[in-house]
Symmetry: C2
Subunit: 155 residues, 2 copies
């Protein structure tokens, strides 16, 4: 199985595995904190942040799915559950019956407003506080560059 494969060097493997592990640990911890302290899942939080970022707090299901890199059907199921909890409502497009919008409710805005300070505090204490400004810049540069390459691959 080794023929012609450019296996990772020890240093590359160490960096890759550490990076994957960092993300698993960090996101796992943040999700756990959110769930216990504010009863929002990480996905609820991501959807609500996405909706507060846009005018009128409304976005098409398919745009939300694309923004969060989710299958459309998975997003649709999740939003249905959030509707049941009163965090968002569903609106049909007057022009196109197939194009549904998710709209954040007042309760949704209250939930994200209550959760955001905790989330920011956790992002600081678990992550940002341990990076130098230069390291943070490097991380942002790497992230933007690799995502751009992934976007090019998609196009």
């Amino acid at each position: 199985m080794t023929d012609g494969v450019n296996w990772l060097t020890a240093e590359e493997q160490h960096a890759w595995r550490s990076f994957v592990r960092l993300h698993e640990r960090l996101i796992g911890r943040l999700a756990h904190l959110l769930q216990t302290e504010s009863r929002l899942s990480a996905t609820d939080y991501a959807v609500l942040v996405n909706l507060t970022d846009v005018p009128d707090g409304r976005r098409q299901y398919q745009d939300l799915a694309r923004a969060l890199e989710w299958e459309k059907s998975r997003m649709s199921h999740h939003i249905t559950r959030m509707i049941g909890r009163g965090l968002v409502t569903r609106e049909e497009s007057p022009r196109d019956g197939r194009a549904a919008y998710a709209v954040i409710t007042e309760a949704g805005r209250e939930a994200i407003a209550a959760a955001a300070p905790l989330h920011v505090q956790a992002v600081r204490s678990l992550f940002l506080d341990h990076l130098t400004p230069a390291e943070l810049r490097t991380l942002a540069e790497i992230s933007v560059r690799v995502v751009e390459k992934l976007d090019e691959n998609d196009a």
Copy 2:
């Protein structure tokens, strides 16, 4: 809601969101490639890698769960599905009936051997190829440091 909260600066928010997005995109793409090219899920792959890393390819369920940051019950369900597909078998501990081991099968070893070259090639072309050696070192340093802090928090 803003009282006393040390909100993220624009630069911090950019770095944090870019980092989260990088990981979602990259892991999503790798998982999709694995699934379509080798019919292993990202979790199958992670479990099999974990088992090939240890002597005799056997590990307690709870050690696997800890290594992958999973709930024990979720790991147990997943291993049951992998047993059904012949990738691993289950062994009871002769000393402690409650301590189950997952053991990689010959088919499991063949599956990971077939998938690994593709995975390594994808990690290179989608990620490592776009980082300088200095950036890769910085990323590894950040990752190890933050995970150590998370471990300290746990202890």
